[in-house]
């Protein structure tokens, strides 16, 4: 993975010093909260219900075991012994003290980590495919291109005060594991007609109050010029994005207002100005970064697995994925034990995963947007030992992309923006459906505690949105969303429910699916697409 040179380290160290001084000014009273708030947000620090919350960047979701151990240390030293992995592949700490935050950031900087731009109206952490570098279906490892974007976007002088936040994702396969069509910009690595690498560029996707699937703004963007093209899109957005209404300020609104052709023309015109200015990184820089993502030297071998133990066989089937080198698997570690909090990991669990990564997966860990962890390069011969160690620590749930693998934002248990609790609803749904999840097949359930949609409810096969209804927590049921390459937006089925009612409604949807599917290989999402809302409405609300 990428390792800092002296320049990268100097920038992160300077950022720690800058933030330390900003905190000192705030504590001394020379900086008002109004002026401090955007500064702390640009460093990922929120004030939540119980304390400050710090969102630490995990660039494109990749961590070393050294970094994961530091995250465990931070959970213990500065928080209450745990952290929460998020749908943006980052980690959040819930109990942070402002006065300790500069020391925390200094600790992070010692392992080449930071909280740059994890909030605020700026370019956020770049996300990517959690299987990058290992997936059998990828064209190349997308992370070097994401790393160059990370550097390009860090303290970008022209784009640090955008109309609203800005999210970019990069993938390199036809299967989309990073929901690129629900990002402000989605980049898909492809080969051009001459065989050279470049990107298909999507723009204007997003969730939140007005969910929109991105549109293709450029079928082919040459690799040599992609940074200046990003500058061009951002400049059009910075100048023309709406600033009069926070709910209409994302680039998706601008793209819709202008139309994709007019937006593309504006971007092309701006790019014509920018391309000759030397803003693009030279080939040597990309080569330098690519060299650091060199795949581990894995030896292809025949896979001989003992599947006599049913629990292991089940875990193997559900939590591992084909690796490009025969005899190896990509392992997803579920952070969704039934009864647990989706995405939460204790310091002890983080340390265990770090240890297992050292032992079995070349000391590297990935964070997924589904709030799970990945060991990407595991020898099949080691799978049994890995599984046993995980299961002993409560990390052996065999439920990836199944009904109990629920995504949930922190909701009203932690978040000051939330209208309703999401974790208890996610827990109850998981507990109710876990016994039948084998029968239900692939089923992505996503719960958000407010319209901002951090729980990605619009991209859920089944989505749940918490709202405030006359002072009481109320939950809307949405069906038919997908964040994958077949992206679609979930639609509200009908009137909302209380917390008990929504769990029963979700259960009724799954029962209806089992009765309605054409055969067991038809996923819930495909049954929904084939039949539409009516039979599910009937099942949930009665005739």
């Amino acid at each position: 993975m990428y390792q800092y040179d002296a320049i990268d380290q100097a920038i992160v160290d300077a950022r720690v010093a800058e933030f330390r001084e900003q905190v000192e000014r705030r504590l001394a009273g020379t900086l008002s909260e109004d002026d401090f708030k955007p500064l702390r947000l640009m460093n990922g620090l929120y004030l939540q219900l119980h304390a400050y919350m710090l969102r630490v960047a995990v660039p494109y979701g990749t961590l070393s075991s050294v970094q994961l151990r530091m995250l465990a240390h931070i959970a213990r030293r500065y928080d209450r012994g745990y952290g929460h992995f998020t749908t943006r592949q980052n980690i959040q700490y819930n109990w942070i003290k402002l006065e300790e935050c500069p020391d925390l950031l200094a600790d992070l900087a010692r392992v080449e980590m930071h909280a740059f731009q994890t909030s605020g109206n700026c370019i956020r952490n770049i996300s990517s495919d959690q299987f990058a570098g290992a997936a059998a279906d990828e064209l190349a490892d997308p992370r070097p291109y994401a790393e160059l974007l990370r550097q390009w976007s860090t303290l970008h002088p022209e784009f640090s005060f955008l109309p609203r936040k800005f999210k970019i994702a990069v993938i390199a396969s036809e299967t989309d594991r990073a929901a690129i069509q629900l990002h402000d910009i989605g980049l898909q690595l492809r080969r051009g007609e001459d065989g050279a690498l470049g990107f298909r560029v999507y723009v204007g996707g997003g969730m939140g109050r007005t969910p929109v699937i991105a549109k293709v703004v450029r079928e082919w963007l040459p690799m040599a010029d992609y940074l200046s093209y990003m500058d061009a899109i951002l400049r059009v957005y910075n100048r023309h994005g709406r600033r009069d209404n926070i709910y209409k300020a994302r680039i998706k609104i601008l793209v819709n207002d202008l139309g994709i052709e007019a937006f593309a023309a504006e971007a092309e015109a701006e790019w014509a100005h920018l391309k000759p200015l030397g803003r693009d990184a030279p080939e040597a820089e990309l080569a330098r970064i690519i060299a650091q993502f060199k795949a581990p030297a894995l030896v292809a071998e025949a896979e001989a697995l003992d599947l006599s133990e049913p629990d292991f066989a089940l875990w193997l089937a559900r939590n591992t994925h084909a690796h490009k080198v025969p005899g190896h698997r990509i392992v997803t570690i579920s952070l969704k034990p039934v009864g647990g909090i989706p995405g939460d990991a204790s310091a002890e669990q983080m340390e265990l995963v770090a240890e297992l990564a050292d032992k079995f997966s070349h000391s590297e860990i990935r964070v997924t947007h589904s709030q799970n962890l990945v060991l990407a390069d595991v020898r099949s011969a080691d799978l049994k030992a890995l599984w046993q160690a995980l299961a002993a620590a409560g990390l052996g749930s065999a439920n990836i992309d199944r009904a109990s693998d629920v995504i949930a934002c922190p909701g009203l248990d932690y978040c000051t923006l939330a209208n309703a609790r999401s974790i208890p609803v996610a827990q109850e749904i998981a507990a109710r459906l876990a016994p039948v999840e084998a029968e239900l097949g692939e089923l992505k359930i996503k719960v958000s505690g407010c319209i901002n949609g951090c729980g990605h409810h619009h991209a859920g096969h089944i989505g749940v949105l918490g709202v405030d209804r006359k002072g009481a927590e109320n939950y809307q049921l949405l069906l038919g969303g997908s964040g994958a390459e077949d992206a679609s937006l979930a639609k509200i089925l009908g009137p909302g429910f209380d917390a008990d009612g929504i769990v029963s409604a979700v259960e009724n949807v799954t029962k209806a699916y089992l009765a309605l599917r054409s055969d067991p290989s038809e996923r819930f999402l495909d049954t929904w697409r084939r039949l539409g809302a009516d039979p599910f409405k009937e099942a949930v609300y009665g005739g």
Binding site: E33, L47, L49, H50, R80, I341, L412, D413, Y414, G471
Partner: protein
């Protein structure tokens, strides 16, 4: 309807309740105020206090203490409902 004055401490972010004389992290020590008095206190305290998100919230009397009207404020008073182990001592989250 009684009002309670609440905020988060600047240095730590922890939840505080106005006792009539100062701040306390335990809602059971909170003083009930008339709405107008609470608003006057906010105006008086806001500029000088080292706190954020100063607000008056509604609460009802409940067994000698106070039960905030909204889920949000009940969660703030006791802690996350999904982590009873982290709740305010002697203040169970199952009442949220």
């Amino acid at each position: 309807m009684p009002h309670l004055l609440t905020c988060n401490r600047l240095e730590t972010g922890e939840v505080l309740w106005w006792t009539g004389e100062g701040w306390n992290t335990d809602i059971r020590a909170a003083a009930a105020l008339e709405k107008a008095d609470a608003e006057a206190l906010i105006a008086q305290l806001a500029p000088a206090e080292r706190v954020n998100d100063l607000a008056a919230i509604e609460a009802e009397a409940n067994g000698g203490g106070w039960r905030p009207l909204t889920t949000r404020e009940r969660v703030r008073a006791s802690g996350p409902s999904v982590r009873p182990d982290l709740a305010l001592v002697g203040f169970p989250t199952n009442g949220i």
